[in-house]
Symmetry: C2
Subunit: 248 residues, 2 copies
């Protein structure tokens, strides 16, 4: 277990916050985006949770996830209205103070002044940031996200979430990247499953997944081999191709 292929594993969880995700009114677009971005950076997304705009639920989830994973990323609930309660929930979770942050007040104040938009009490709510937090910059709509310890709090609007991910991720330590290669085949999983299980056993340091697609009539399968070592992937892929060639 201490051979050269052992690599540093960095883990993460995501907490998506919002009644609208649970009612079906809004289809989440942030989970898949973050998952792909983390994979590229060598950070393993291990768990996602979606909870409602409820302080107790948010606090409970944050306090479990931040203990369990290297990083926690949240989406949603940091806008200017009464149902945006994520920042306050984070302060409660960490037991720290929260108030209007001078850096965020200046960013937003300057932004609205330059556009001759009133800096309402509601808009000032977006400057409520827990004490000691770092700001996450947001090129799209200026109102910042923030980081407290290993918890990174971002917006729910996808274009803003993506802008925050883009500014945040390069500042985080990534691990050895999980690599993957895929083979498509015209066989259903049921035709290849027995042999694929044997190949998985022969290549225990890889993780072999098979993902069926169904067009209404026939199944095809995408076989994906994952590992942090490309040589191990290549060896498993070679065995899979040999198996598929024999099937014809």
């Amino acid at each position: 277990m201490t051979d050269k292929t052992e690599a540093k594993i960095i883990t993460a969880a995501m907490l998506a916050i919002g009644d609208e995700l649970l009612s079906g009114r809004t289809r989440d677009k942030n989970i898949g985006h973050l998952a792909s971005a983390l994979t590229l950076q060598g950070i393993d997304l291990k768990e996602v949770r979606i909870v409602s705009d409820d302080q107790d639920e948010i606090v409970a989830a944050i306090n479990v996830l931040r203990q369990r994973y290297t990083y926690v990323f949240t989406s949603g609930g940091i806008g200017p209205t009464h149902d945006d309660i994520t920042a306050d929930a984070i302060a409660v979770a960490f037991g720290i103070k929260i108030d209007h942050d001078p850096r965020a007040m200046k960013l937003l104040g300057d932004h609205y002044a330059s556009r001759e938009i009133e800096f309402t009490t509601a808009r000032q709510r977006m400057a409520r940031i827990p004490e000691g937090a770092d700001l996450i910059s947001n090129a799209v709509s200026i109102a910042p996200g923030f980081s407290v310890d290993n918890v990174h709090v971002m917006a729910g609007v996808p274009s803003v979430f993506q802008a925050m991910v883009e500014s945040l991720l390069p500042t985080l330590k990534g691990g050895a990247k999980m690599l993957s290669s895929a083979v498509e085949c015209n066989h259903g999983e049921g035709s290849i499953g027995d042999q694929l299980g044997i190949i998985q056993n022969q290549h225990p340091q890889t993780s072999i997944g098979s993902y069926p697609k169904f067009d209404g009539n026939t199944y095809t399968t995408q076989i994906v081999v994952r590992s942090r070592n490309q040589l191990q992937i290549d060896q498993a892929i070679a065995d899979i191709k040999t198996m598929l060639n024999k099937l014809g």
Copy 2:
């Protein structure tokens, strides 16, 4: 709290299972579908989790969620390959036996015989069902889902998941439906947030949400009022419209 508007609340959680959802390789399409279907049936989806194809993770999540909510719905991991471990994980979670189920073996055996497809050991894996489970029928690809107590186990392929939801949901007890009405407006949340907070306080039996959309230049907002009582919704909507009319 015991007035006529109090209604029976039925709650649910969803557990989506699959490495591919967490790596970003596959974008989930089942959460939003189930969320909408449950809302129509008066079942409140309170929490969603996504975990990897890892027995310990699945068992832990199932055993928390099934205690906490009326129903639990799972997606993924019931196909014919070695990485399909959901059925075995459910058996472990409940501490019950699992084996090839005679009903499922007959369904699948007949299906493959009629198509002259070999009923491989891999395909027989799809008939592994925990003892005492009810089957969930699947008009798309025959291999059934199943229900153990309040946990309903369904496939990850969206067309199959949807077929299972369609056959399962009418058999479940729904609650009083959560109703909602929406108002669209051309104001950003920051312009209406203060007054919307006041209106929320004046209508405590409704839940008022505001959902910003950003087109890259300007924000618009969808205001949604939710309650199990349409009269309460109508009263809140009237106040919101009066507020918006004053803003011009």
